[in-house]
Amino acid sequence: MKTSDDPLERASILLVDDRPSNLLSLEAILSRPDYDLVLAGSGPEALAAVLRREFAVILLDVAMPGMDGFETAATIKEREQSMRVPIIFVTASVYDMEHIYHGYSVGAVDYLLKPINPHALRAKVAVFVELYRQRKQIERQAARLREAELAAERHRHERIEYAYRESEALYQRTFEEAAIGIGHASPDGAFVSVNRRLCEILGSTRDELCGRRLQEFAAGDDAAALVQRIATLDVGQESYHGEHRLTTAGGTQVWVALTLSALRTAVQGDDSRSVIVVVDDISERKQLELERSRLLRELRDGILARDNFLSIAAHELKTPITPLRLQTASILRDARVRPDSPMSRETLYQRLESIDRAAARLESLIDRLLDISHLSVGKLTLEREDVDLTALLRNVVARLRRDAEREGASLTLVDAPATLIGSWDRLRLEQAVTSLVANAIKYGRGKPVEVGLDVEGDVARLSVRDHGIGIPEEAQARIFDRFARAAPVMHFGGFGLGLWTVRRIVEAHHGRVTVRSSPGEGAEFIVELPLPAAKGSPRPNAAAPRKREETRP
């Protein structure tokens, strides 16, 4: 950039005279290193020179053939480009003076009389040159100032532009990288732009998603509801929040928290709405909620079942109290009211037997309760020994035959091999089989009960079949649960834990128990017990040491 210390600016001076000798003389007088002298021999030459460059001052001879000095000056002053260039007329006639000052309103005008005084000429020219230089300097400064202002303006503009671009990029990145699915949709729900997370949640690429409608990812009624939601969204009104189950492009179900808000799109006029879709994947939370409510339901069912069980258990325990109390009260009353003729020894014996039976029944009930409690909280310890399952079944059938006959039912062991030896817990298996057979008698409506046993591969398959009321299909899945009972509570006695105990025992033996039944046609319980490698050994090894095993519920 130029400063005021720069060397003197060169000044161009136009000398116009039709006589070359005059031009030479002027040139000689004015010649200076910082002047550029341009010579013109006529008015038109002068005009041509003025068009080419800017002059600090013009020395113009008035008396010229053709276009004279005044005419030339008039033309120069008419031109916007040159109107401000000062002109010094050179004339021999003082009468020209009037002309000189008349009619030139713009730019400086001066004159010199011939013969020319070199000092006066130099001085006049120097004044105009100085003026020219000052004007130039001011112009330069003004230009510099303007340039500086422009630069500042440009800088400010650039900064704003940069900030805008930064902010735009930040918003774009925020939209794109947000951990929540975001998209813009047209009022009919069709996606216009979507971010990465939304693509992930809906299992689609950006290209696949754009143009597809949000409701296409929802099912049936829900899709219709979403269409309705989107249609009723109002700008400035509350957003819609809801939980929806969507199906991704890949067919997986995903639970989402959906927020829909209306946005006015100014560019398209007042009526144009756009929809902001915010989608958060809440499948995990939903899964946990479902899991929690399932556990809660199980827990509640469990508590209900236990309360139910306690009520039944209390009732069962009370039953033997009736014979106990009646018989003892009767004996006491007899002794008090008829001391002289006491009841016969035989009658007394019969009464005491009844009392004993009731007491034994109480004891057995309490034992069963304790056993159940033990099975519930603790481990089931198996005392394995070689057991002949056929003999075991034969014993149980013989023992329960009287009970069956009392219900009018026959109880038979059918299709059993002569012997079937395995390493099992004899007492626990007896308990399980007894429980199954007692159940069959209880629910058998007096119809025959059949117990069977066969071997399939290395599995002993034991079955207990009745032809009674059967078990409804919906109840079959839970009859092996604790406290479960397929029949109405009030209908049949029992703790409702028999089948649960059976399952615990069978599973402790690494076997399984299943049921086949259709209501009204009875039920068949099947117990499958794995046989040891040395199964079916006809000669039980009495010396075999007992193995202890423990299983946890």
Partner: protein, 158 residues
């Protein structure tokens, strides 16, 4: 103490599925000279009624297999010749007994006490069966029955 009634006049039908309870009720009643007929469910009870002399009253358990006490009552009250026989429910569940109180003449809670049992036979067997029935027609349940049973149970042995 009540005079021992004639056996032919005083028969009690016990309908109860638990044999031990049935045995005990029978033992006590027989010791006092009453005739006892047993049935292990409602169906058996109806069978017995068709074969025996009309009982003074029936001791009826509610929860029984084959035919429950409720079902038994429904049939009994629909059968002309049997409709007027008094029935006393023996149950551990007062709620269940309350549901059939319209058709019964009393309720004894299990476990049954000797006093409660004896006051029942005194109430229903002291007169001839015919007379009892004329005093207590079917359907007109005496609302004091329950209370009376409670107070009589507290009385000392006759």
């Amino acid at each position: 103490m009540t005079a021992v009634p004639s056996k032919t006049e005083c028969t009690v039908l016990i309908v109860e599925d638990d044999q031990d309870i049935r045995d005990a009720l029978r033992d006590v009643l027989e010791l006092d000279g009453y005739e006892v007929v047993e049935a292990s469910n409602g169906k058996e009870g109806l069978d017995r009624l068709s074969a025996i002399v009309r009982p003074c009253f029936i001791l009826l358990d509610l929860m029984m297999p084959v035919m429950s006490g409720r079902e038994f009552l429904a049939v009994l009250r629909e059968t002309d010749v049997l409709a007027t026989i008094p029935v006393v429910v023996v149950s551990a569940w007062p709620d269940e007994a309350a549901r059939v109180c319209e058709r019964t003449q009393g309720f004894v809670k299990k476990p049954v006490s000797l006093d409660a049992l004896l006051s029942l036979v005194q109430k229903f067997c002291k007169a001839s069966p015919r007379a009892v029935f004329s005093l207590t027609p079917a359907g007109s349940r005496n609302p004091e029955d329950g209370d009376r049973l409670k107070t009589t149970r507290k009385e000392p042995n006759a």
